[in-house]
Amino acid sequence: MRPRAFLDLARELVRGPTEAHWRAAVGRAYYALLLEGRAALQRWGFVALRRDQVHAFVRFRFLYAADADLQKFGRTLARLNALRNQADYEPQVPGPFRDRRVAGQAVRDAEIHLPYLDTVEADPLRLAAVIADIRRRWP
């Protein structure tokens, strides 16, 4: 299964009728981005050493990328990470999960930013520059 399949599930969940659906949708959208980002980094030769470091490992490689689109990917990943923590660990207050709008927007933003990885990979020159930059920044 490709991790982006989680985004299909997020789309279904966000159409669901309850707060639990909307919270779960944010989590699936976040993991679609995180795991696709990790898979891309692996293909490019960068592997997180420990599982518990994966979230920061992936986020920072993209946040600090020289490529502006990858920085945007990193920012969306960071934002969804914060929203996902709220969704999973703060069920006592409805917060942004009072209705489906914020979760729906999170899923849409994930849909828009995920293809940035494909776009970079489809351009060998751009990809080579990205890999060289990450290698330089994280020797």
Binding site: A56, Q71, K72, R79, V102, Q105
Partner: protein, 110 residues
């Protein structure tokens, strides 16, 4: 009618402290100014800390009216601007989010 000049801004005490540690007051001011000028239907702004393993970030929440359309590009537009306006060493500490709830930020400002 609310204008950019009188949009209430609440920066929590914890956020103020973190801002001083980061030494990024000028950058936050620019972010608040941009938010006031560009986010349609903006009612209030709140800045609060977000505790992360890798260092406490600041979340800028824009309380705004819901958009007329299904998609609200406010967050994407803000992120695109931030990536152009600041290096990663700065923008990594700030998250921007929108919230369609009412805010009591106006009443909380001393």
């Amino acid at each position: 009618m609310t204008t950019a000049a009188n949009i209430p801004v609440l920066i929590t005490a914890d956020a103020e402290q973190r801002l001083q540690e980061l030494g990024m007051r000028t950058e936050l001011d620019a972010m608040l100014e941009y938010t006031k000028k560009t986010v349609p239907g903006l009612r209030a702004i709140e800045v609060r800390p977000y505790f992360e393993q890798d260092g406490t970030m600041l979340i800028i929440t824009a309380y705004k009216d819901p958009p007329d359309t299904e998609d609200d590009p406010a967050q994407r537009n803000w992120d695109s601007w931030a990536v152009q306006a600041f290096p990663p060493e700065v923008h990594r500490w700030f998250l921007f989010e929108v919230d369609y709830r009412e805010s009591n930020a106006a009443e909380s400002i001393p």
